[in-house]
Symmetry: C2
Subunit: 161 residues, 2 copies
């Protein structure tokens, strides 16, 4: 076993997360992924939570097409929510303040939700166009290829209705 505790060296963290060591260091430089611990000698030690954060980063990057600056904003939001949760748990936080905190958490998620939904909508329009083309070709095929030729012009999505 390599880890003195449950923490991983950067090599293991890299291979488990699928990212490169260079990327992990770079993301740390940007303040995106900070390893939970460091050895006295200055070696990075990653926790499972760190790996989860890496996975999330890659998801935002590849699925949503966010750049690292946008991802930083998302992370800032989520880290803010962590703070809120901490304050939420504090003894000297009353019910009204707690409602505020939760409301803010909801807002942050709602904003991200809209972005995601817009993207899904666009992709679905795209898919709809594709299906329309497919169906037309399929009909021509089913009809035993009659005189009616398949007409088509490559056009951008959103052309239905």
């Amino acid at each position: 076993m390599t880890g003195g505790e449950g923490l991983l060296g950067i090599g293991e963290a890299a291979s488990r997360s699928g990212a490169s060591e260079r990327a992990l260091r770079y993301w740390q430089q940007l303040g995106l992924i900070t390893p939970t611990g460091t050895t006295p000698g200055g070696l990075r030690r990653y926790s499972e939570a760190d790996l989860a954060r890496v996975a999330r980063l890659r998801e935002l990057q590849e699925l949503l097409g966010f750049n690292l600056e946008e991802i930083r904003q998302v992370f800032d939001n989520e880290d803010r929510l962590e703070e809120l949760r901490a304050e939420y748990h504090s003894e000297q936080t009353d019910a009204a303040r707690r409602r505020e905190l939760i409301a803010e958490g909801l807002q942050v998620r709602s904003r991200l939700r809209e972005t995601v939904e817009a993207k899904i909508g666009a992709l679905q329009r795209f898919l709809g166009d594709l299906d329309a083309q497919r169906e037309r070709l399929q009909r021509v095929l089913d009809d035993g290829v009659p005189g009616g030729p398949p007409r088509e012009a490559a056009q951008p999505a959103g052309s239905r209705r």
Copy 2:
């Protein structure tokens, strides 16, 4: 009016498509967008069809997150379909051959369809996670903020079930 015919100079084409002149030239260099015509002096002249192709390129780029190489492949497919359509209309093409051509057209679209659908699926998982978080917070809010604190750990999508 600028155009001798229905064709546009690169400036007009750029401002109408929303792309830059530089981008149009660059895309042409990569073989992605070739203006329909050129003047005897070598000036590019863009047709409406060219603009549609530009719009499609930008869609693939921004919506699907494809890079120019991937877009080139999509365009190659579509251009192949154009050829197929041309052959389809030819007099000396018999019914069997036509069926083949249509079948190939369907295949090309099906492949692209899968890519798009995978992406939509991933985004929907993402959205589902987001909604789950929202609902949990909302419930806590509706329940008048009881003792049960909102538990949460930022985790990658695909964690439902």
